[in-house]
């Protein structure tokens, strides 16, 4: 018993001491991220642009301190994707998406083969395409698809590539290979994966479930 406690204590010290220098940072990181994420949860399509920017700024500041963490970059990029859908004109939308690309690039430098970042890449491509579909589908369509495929292959359990694919199909006319017929099976796959998906931590991405619910409601049971 005594040896156990001693060895446990030694282990504890060995493990914690090098981390000690970071540990305040790490706690601070968790706290800051939790705060930023809870603020992000209040976001909706009615959130004014400056408030969205404030959310992205918060993650950007965290990213500036935590130079080894990809998550703050990821969330900052994600908010700029939302802004890419909200911008007042093509130029502004593209400006926001340029920011999303910059955050994605920085995140990929930290985590090159990450399924969530592949999802983000696909999401950016989709947002770019929506800016001017008639002229952009040729360029961004394949980019969207390759991001979705990459995410699926990196983590077959991740529901989010299916969320993006299903949503895109739902809003694509039938004659282009979209419509509920094509979208519903994909959305159902997403729903199944949500049932078992466990994010790596409370700070990891969890979005998507509520987004697809209204679409799933329209699908044949």
């Amino acid at each position: 018993m005594k040896t156990f406690i001693t060895s446990a204590l030694i282990l504890f010290i060995i493990n914690v001491v090098p981390a000690q220098a970071q540990s305040t940072g790490s706690d601070q990181y968790k706290q800051a991220m939790t705060e930023a994420l809870s603020r992000m949860k209040t976001q909706s399509e009615k959130t004014p642009v400056p408030d969205m920017l404030a959310m992205a700024n918060q993650f950007e500041r965290i990213a500036g301190v935590e130079t080894k963490e990809w998550l703050p970059r990821y969330y900052a990029g994600l908010i700029y994707v939302y802004l890419g859908f909200m911008g007042k004109d093509e130029a502004e939308k593209d400006k926001f998406l340029d920011q999303a690309d910059a955050h994605l690039k920085a995140a990929l430098a930290l985590a090159p083969d990450n399924d969530e970042l592949a999802v983000l890449k696909a999401y950016i491509a989709q947002s770019r395409m929506v800016v001017d579909p008639a002229n952009r589908w040729q360029q961004y369509g394949p980019l969207f698809q390759s991001g979705v495929e990459k995410a699926k292959s990196l983590n077959p359990n991740n529901p989010r590539p299916y969320v993006l694919e299903g949503t895109s199909l739902m809003y694509t006319p039938e004659q282009f290979g979209g419509g509920p017929g094509a979208a519903c099976p994909v959305l159902k796959q997403a729903a199944e994966k949500f049932a078992t998906f466990k994010p790596a931590s409370d700070l990891h991405p969890m979005w998507g479930k509520t987004q697809i619910e209204p679409m799933l409601a329209k699908c044949p049971k």
Binding site: Q28, E60, I62, F176
Partner: protein, 736 residues
């Protein structure tokens, strides 16, 4: 009064300072604006390396507290603006700071040199058209060069191929693919037939149609260059089939992460089409053609890009040409049998790379083409061949603030052979050019582009030096003016050089003034020009004027010709007013006269029409996923040669005009999906109103009877479709 105010503020400062020092925190506050003092809400203000920061509110104000003491680095970032970095001293009580951010250079706030150029691009945002607009235009028959004839500055000449720009002939326009001159951009020329361009529009991601004043990077064109840039990757994968009234084709595309391959093959025969659509020409053998192409692209590194494109085609045809000048008893209309067998090969490979974080760019290319026409006219041999090999390299150095400088050189070897009534002529020209050009931004509102080009042609043993200058000034957020001046040289038509190599370069000087405003999906562009022609080749045949455009110039030649062209063109596009409807209108006016070829006096050439109007409309009907386009064109009458008028009178020579040419054309495309395969169906009708258009007249040798030369067909239709045999061939979102 002052005393009253100062006292409380002094008190508050002291109080805040006290409360802050108690919690060991410092408040940093202030305001962020643009250069004009307007608030920037949403800017990120923070101390580098800390969590301490805030976002500016709607008035641009920010306020946050920090536990930091002494000094820190303040960083301010805002979308679309340059970051602001400054080391600040944190006062124990309060630090206040006001910052003005500078906007980043972007396409909206930076002037672009546009005089003379009409661009269609996916990559640049501020362009007049997108490549897709060209493909889906009715009346262009998905032929990229035909689509150019609807743009401002172009004059439509119905019975000849090529692009005629601002009083210039089709020989004065060069087609350039990825920087390489294309020797034979059109199918072989036939008397009174407008041949199609050889290239598929989907090959290109960007098109720049320059109607003058163009860059020192290009030469050997007195009027215009059509710059085509090929796409960097496949847009689909898998097998595709296409079938229409003229041909059947097969395509295969395959891509990997760093490379892509496309192969196409086709066979065509116009017999079925000619059986359905009445022909005005007398075909003895309907055109039959077969061809293939191969495209390979490789990204060997993050920055490098290698492209290879090769194509080969083989075509045969036979027709009875009407040459009234050759009319005899028993053949009153002068019908002469022409047979032709054309073989054409074209390859081009380019390599582009960049170094130093994109500050140095390299573009290199090599191209080889071979074209041969085995032609018999009546019983005589008029065969010809051309062979061109060319290499090109351009190095660009990007400087700060959008400025750049480029250096480049190109070398060509051209071998031409031509049989004329059984006599063989041939020549070889080694052509070299070097050029320097700089783009210099004085500010975001003002840019200069000076350049100079030197050329040498071995066949005439001459050198020329051509300066060019463009400048552009931004007059408002959405508008700008540009000015361009340049000297342009061209080696004389090789038909003259077969018999006289003492000729010099022909020359044109351009002066162009352009104004454009692009705002809220509406575009207006106006351009005025003056062109001076010098050293044009004149022929002294000693025989009466010969109106046959395919005659061989036997006479003595020199460079004593000259001329001018002046005019303006207008362009208006509106994608906003009527929802879903996109239309654009073009009007071009030109006044031109010249002394050249067999002219004894100054006159307006037969290929010139003073007024050209085109109206293009498009609408996508989402419910039936059908795209519909309607195009109207008007071309005013052109001069034609009447042998009953004296050729040495400026008032009489070429003073007759043909009637104006009107055309309404319609096209529709419909997209559907069957068993997971994407299908596109299209149909078009040209000359919907069945107008009996006349392009020119030809006279019999006795000058008594004239024959009208018109289009190959009057009202005609065309249908076809293509299938992408791949589950992955998906068209995402909305439109085609």
């Amino acid at each position: 009064m002052k005393l009253f105010l100062r006292l409380p503020s002094f008190l508050t400062t002291v109080l805040i300072g006290l409360s802050l020092s108690a919690s060991a925190q410092t408040v940093v506050s202030g305001r962020v604006t643009d250069q004009r003092g307007r608030a920037l809400p949403g800017a990120n203000v923070f101390l580098r390396g800390t969590y301490d920061g805030a976002t500016t509110d709607t008035t641009g104000a920010f306020r946050f507290s920090t536990t930091r003491r002494d000094t820190a680095t303040l960083l301010i970032t805002y979308v679309g603006y340059e970051s602001f970095v400054r080391s600040i001293t944190l006062q124990p009580e309060r630090t206040s700071i006001t910052v003005k951010l500078t906007e980043l250079a972007n396409e909206l706030n930076t002037v672009v040199i546009t005089a003379g150029a009409f661009e269609a691009s996916d990559e640049k945002k501020m362009t007049m058209l997108k490549p897709m607009d060209i493909v889906t235009t009715a009346g262009a028959a998905a032929d990229i060069t035909a689509a150019m004839n609807l743009l401002p500055g172009a004059q439509r000449v119905g019975e000849q191929e090529g692009v005629f720009v601002r009083g210039g002939s089709n020989l004065e326009t060069k087609v350039v693919i990825d920087g390489m001159i294309v020797q034979n951009p059109f199918f072989s020329s036939l008397p009174d037939v407008q041949s199609r361009g050889r290239f598929q529009p989907f090959m290109f991601k960007g098109t720049s149609f320059s109607t003058g004043g163009y860059s020192a990077q290009y030469g050997q064109a007195l009027s215009s260059v059509l710059l085509l840039n090929t796409v960097d990757k496949n847009s689909s994968n898998g097998l595709g089939l296409s079938l229409n009234l003229a041909n059947a084709g097969l395509s295969y595309d395959h891509s990997t992460a760093n490379s892509s391959l496309s192969a196409t093959g086709y066979y065509g025969n116009l017999k079925p089409l000619f059986a359905l659509v009445r022909q005005n020409l007398d075909w003895t053998r309907e055109p039959e053609f077969a061809g293939s192409s191969l495209t390979y692209r490789l990204k060997p590194s993050k920055t490098g890009m290698l492209k290879f494109y090769g194509m080969y085609s083989d075509s045969r045809l036979g027709m009875n040409v009407r040459d009234p000048g050759a009319a005899t008893v028993g053949n009153e209309t002068g019908l002469i049998n022409l047979r032709q067998h054309n073989r054409n090969a074209f390859t081009t490979s380019t390599y582009a790379d960049s170094w130093g974080e994109g500050r140095w760019l390299l573009n290199t290319g090599f191209s080889y083409s071979y074209d041969t026409d085995a032609t018999t006219y009546d019983t005589e041999d008029f065969s010809r061949s051309s062979e061109r090999a060319q290499a090109r390299a351009v190095i660009t150095r990007l400087l700060g603030g959008n400025s750049s400088i480029l250096f480049g050189a190109e070398a060509h070897t051209l071998t031409l052979k031509n049989a004329v009534s059984g006599v063989d002529y041939s020549l070889r020209d080694n052509y070299g050019a070097a050029f320097v050009e700089s783009q210099f931004y004085v500010s975001r509102n003002l840019a200069f582009q000076p350049g100079i080009r030197a050329e040498y042609s071995s066949v005439i043993g001459r050198v020329n030096l051509a300066p060019r200058l463009s400048l552009a000034y931004k007059t408002g957020v959405f508008s700008q003016v540009s000015l361009a001046y340049g000297q342009f040289y061209q080696t004389p038509d090789y038909r003259y050089l077969y018999r006289n190599t003492d000729l010099n370069f022909e020359r044109a000087d351009h002066l162009i003034l352009n104004y454009q405003i692009i705002r809220n999906k509406r575009t207006f562009r106006a351009e005025a020009f003056y062109k001076n022609y010098a050293a044009l080749v004149r022929e002294f045949t000693g025989t009466p004027y010969d109106a046959n455009p395919y005659r061989f110039p036997w006479g003595r030649t020199d460079n004593s010709g000259h001329g001018y062209a002046q005019g303006f063109d207008l362009f208006w596009r509106d994608q906003k007013t009527v929802k879903g409807l996109d239309y654009w209108v073009t009007y071009s006016y030109v006044d031109t006269k010249r002394l050249f070829q067999q002219f004894n006096v100054v006159a307006t050439p037969t290929f010139v029409s003073n007024h050209n109007v085109s109206l293009i409309t498009k609408r996508f009907f989402e419910k039936i996923s059908t795209n519909i386009s309607l195009t109207y064109t008007f071309t005013s009458g052109r001069p034609y040669y009447n042998p009953n008028r004296p050729t040495d009178s400026e008032r009489e020579f070429l003073s007759d005009r043909t009637p104006a040419v009107n055309n309404v054309s319609f096209s529709a495309s419909h997209i559907l999906r069957a068993k997971g395969n994407l299908i596109v169906l299209y149909a078009s009708v040209d000359n919907l109103l069945n107008s009996r258009n006349i392009f020119t007249y030809r006279y019999t040798a006795d000058r008594t009877t004239r024959y009208a030369v018109g289009p190959q067909t009057y009202r005609s239709f065309f249908v076809g479709g293509l299938i992408m045999l791949s589950k992955k061939a998906k068209v995402d979102v909305n439109q085609l």
